[in-house]
């Protein structure tokens, strides 16, 4: 694989679903993980940047899929990060179930994936904010259909943000306005661009593909012989 590759959204769905499964996430959770990555790609991000953090962390057991809910708080094990793969689906389920107007998620390994899950499911009128291990503050506002904003008080890219307790709240209530660089995005416009160009993925793609490859079964002489088309003599 080269340092840069252009892939399709369908390839993201196929590869990322199985990459999640490759680090032992349940297949249904991995499907949501892949949908989140598609949303990131549709918005012009290289999805492998934040996903490799979550996949590596799960694989190295620095993160856990275990999760507990205590009213409006989602948390994992006290000694590990809460995997964004699980945090994102649980947060989304919580919002979709109308359980409240604010939610805290403790110690998430890759916060952008939680944001992406909300975006992929057309959540609007919500704000997500966090302060990560590097001390950078991020705020994401889902303003309207396809329209969202990123505000950051540091230069670190949001895809690289790692290790954070996240606050989710409905806009128009108790949200806090973060001072910092504001980036406005429109998913619909960005998606149309991506459909014309494909999705550029960079140096972490090989590692994502390696996790995906765990779902492939090594070929043997016997399995080759039992594949469709085996033994064919081309006589027609």
């Amino acid at each position: 694989m080269s340092d840069q590759l252009t892939i399709s959204l369908n390839e993201i769905l196929f590869i990322f679903t199985r990459a999640g499964f490759g680090v032992n996430a349940p297949i249904g959770v991995s499907e949501d993980f892949a949908r989140s990555n598609i949303w990131l790609a549709e918005n012009g991000f290289d999805p492998s940047l934040c996903s490799i953090v979550a996949l590596d962390s799960l694989d190295e057991k620095k993160s856990s899929l275990e999760i507990e809910q205590d009213n409006a708080n989602l948390s994992g094990s006290s000694t590990q990060y809460l995997s964004a793969l699980q945090a994102s689906v649980s947060a989304l389920d919580w919002i979709k179930s109308d359980q409240g107007v604010s939610l805290t998620i403790t110690n998430v390994d890759s916060p952008l994936l939680v944001v992406a899950a909300l975006g992929a499911n057309q959540v609007k009128g919500w704000q997500v904010s966090w302060s990560d291990e590097a001390g950078t503050n991020f705020q994401v506002n889902f303003v309207d259909e396809g329209k969202w904003q990123i505000i950051s008080d540091g230069s670190r890219a949001i895809e690289l943000s790692k290790g954070a307790t996240m606050s989710l709240c409905m806009l128009g209530g108790t949200e806090i306005a973060l001072e910092g660089e504001l980036r406005r995005l429109n998913s619909i416009i960005e998606k149309n661009k991506i459909l014309q160009t494909g999705v550029a993925v960079h140096e972490h793609w090989d590692a994502i593909y390696a996790y995906f490859s765990r779902c492939l079964v090594k070929s043997t002489a016997e399995s080759r012989a039992s594949g469709a088309g085996a033994g064919l003599v081309d006589t027609d």
């Binding site: 390839e11 389920d93 979709k96 109308d98 492939l216 399995s223």
Partner: protein, 565 residues
């Protein structure tokens, strides 16, 4: 055309009857099949076809470009042909070289595009493609027919019809990839275009252009060889030449991963059948057309010869049943009563094999285009399956009980019920169908065990409190998230699921392949094992210069042309 919705609904066949493997594996094309609908669109919209480029040598090796101009845009088939070692010619996904390789290009390719594709298309899965490429495909020659046709045309003669009929095609595709595979355009790029809306229309446009390309290629080589002596194929022979295809396990996962789409396909077909059966009085001339088609089918069956013993026996039985159907229709009393189409269908269902019943479904729909053709435009899906976290567990339990009884009724504790598993091989991601305890890879099983997973969920639900929501349950048991989502999205779509055990010892993937290929419009299924089949596509379909003919839509169950005078 006025419909009696209530009567139509009453005439709909039940999912538990339709979505069974044995019936699915007896499917035939109908006039709603994608190739049929695409040909009608091309004709109606007066698509124009143009050979833009043909740089090939004496042996036909080189690059060619063939364009289809719709009223609003152009699609181009870019074709590369090369000499390959005979021992490397195989239909399998794991092949490395092919006689011909193709892309369907969105627009007209520039020289820069051709240069890019020259370096990628012949490599197929080993190449990388861009959103300008809508599909990727390859084909191998039928060595016998390719050489026979080129040499006879070069000598100024027409090919032997018997040989043409025994093969049916000059080249055989072994894969047609679309929808974002290997970097090609995502379906979302083109899904809003009218000509792309219905499933697989761009892939099947690719195949239609490949058919034209193969015929043009043999004629071109013949001219290069024979000079002024060479002739072109006579139009009726050209029309009888289709494109072959080898289809293996890759189709099966698609079918299982797109339940909403499958529901929409089957609903269209079953609605068409119900509308026809509900007709009290037939459309003028339609019964006569039907009777004529029964005679034509009898001839078609005589020409459908395969080596596979099971399919041969089925065809033999089908021939006898079609003959009996012909006699039954010859009795005026049987067709002069009200609801004659229903009588025909019911007679078939009561007396004939599944293969014949499904043939009759196709035949009764065929002369009723005015009544059913609108349904072809509904055979697509845009739904992204959602997980409904706020659904009550009581409701989920009730859906599982009502809609998945076919799954919970299977005893998965028996070895024979979990005899097989599906997996991807590292060999070019070739899908394979393993046997538990024999093949490696159970841990990497594809999530296609719908029945077993639904049954497992059903068992777990028995222990869960009714007060929970689905979201709370899924947090506790995330391993069920995928099957819950599936069940939630198929609950109101009764034709979404194959209502059989896909892991069972007796399961034949071939049944799934035939079901899907019939929706494509394939004919002459020629099973090579339980895992793969050869077929013909577009055999009998009008060539580009025949699309304006009045009979452009009359190519179901083609029969071989008579010898030229």
């Amino acid at each position: 055309m006025p419909f009696n919705a209530k009567l139509d609904e009453a005439m709909m066949r039940r999912p538990e009857q339709v979505m069974r493997l044995d019936r699915m594996g007896s499917s035939f094309q109908t006039r709603l099949s994608f190739m049929r609908a695409l040909i009608r669109r091309m004709s109606k919209e007066k698509w124009q076809f143009e050979k833009l480029r043909q740089d090939v040598d004496q042996n036909g090796f080189g690059v060619s470009v063939y364009a289809a101009h719709t009223p609003v845009r152009t699609y181009s088939l870019v074709a590369f042909t090369q000499d390959i070692p005979a021992d490397m010619r195989t239909d399998r996904v794991i092949a490395e070289v092919w006689d011909a390789t193709f892309n369907l290009f969105d627009g007209v390719p520039t020289q820069e595009d051709i240069d890019y594709l020259t370096n990628n298309t012949p490599k197929q899965e080993g190449g990388r493609f861009r959103p300008s490429e809508l599909s990727l495909s390859r084909a191998n020659k039928s060595l016998r027919l390719f050489e026979h046709i080129t040499s006879t045309l070069a000598e100024g003669k027409q090919p032997d019809i018997d040989l043409v009929a025994s093969v049916g095609y000059i080249m055989r595709t072994t894969a047609v990839y679309g929808s974002g595979k290997f970097g090609c355009a995502d379906r979302a790029k083109i899904a809003d275009r009218e000509e792309c809306k219905v499933s697989f229309h761009m892939e099947l446009l690719t195949v239609y252009l490949i058919r034209w390309f193969t015929i043009d290629l043999v004629e071109t080589i013949a001219k290069k060889r024979g000079g002024d002596r060479a002739v072109s194929l006579e139009p009726h022979i050209r029309q009888f030449i289709g494109v072959g295809n080898s289809t293996g396990l890759g189709m099966a996962p698609f079918l299982l991963k797109h339940p909403v789409l499958i529901h929409n396909w089957v609903t269209a077909k079953e609605t068409a059948l119900a509308r026809v059966r509900s007709l009290e009085t037939p459309i003028q001339g339609s019964l006569e057309a039907f009777i004529e088609s029964v005679n034509q089918v009898a001839q078609h069956l005589k020409e459908w010869r395969v080596a596979d013993e099971i399919q041969s026996a089925r065809i033999e039985k089908l021939e006898a049943e079609v003959e009996r159907l012909g006699h039954w229709c010859g009795d005026e009393d049987n067709l002069t009563k009200p609801y004659p189409w229903n009588s025909i269908y019911q007679f078939a269902e009561d007396n004939f094999s599944l293969e014949c019943q499904e043939m009759v479904v196709s035949l009764v729909i065929e002369p009723n285009g005015a009544l059913v053709d609108d349904l072809a435009d509904t055979m697509f899906a845009t739904t992204v399956p959602q997980f409904e976290a706020d659904m009550s567990l009581v409701k989920l339990k009730s859906i599982v009980k009502d809609c998945y009884a076919w799954a919970t009724g299977i005893d998965f504790s028996l070895g024979e019920s979990q005899h097989h598993f599906w997996y991807y091989s590292e060999d070019k991601l070739e899908p394979r169908f393993g046997s538990t305890g024999v093949d490696k890879g159970v841990d990497q099983e594809m999530p296609l065990a719908i029945g077993r997973d639904a049954d497992d969920l059903s068992e777990q639900l028995k222990t869960a409190s009714d007060d929970m929501t689905v979201g709370e349950f899924a947090m506790q048991y995330p391993e069920f998230r995928h099957i819950i989502r599936r069940i939630q999205n198929t609950a109101l779509r009764p034709y979404a699921e194959v209502q059989d055990n896909l892991l069972g010892e007796k399961m034949r993937p071939l049944d799934l392949l035939r079901f899907k290929l019939a929706f494509f419009g394939a004919s002459k299924f020629d099973p090579k094992s339980d895992l793969w089949t050869r077929i013909s596509m577009y055999q009998g379909a009008p060539m580009p210069d025949q699309l304006a003919d009045a009979n452009h839509d009359d190519w179901a169950f083609p029969i071989r042309p008579k010898r030229s005078a």
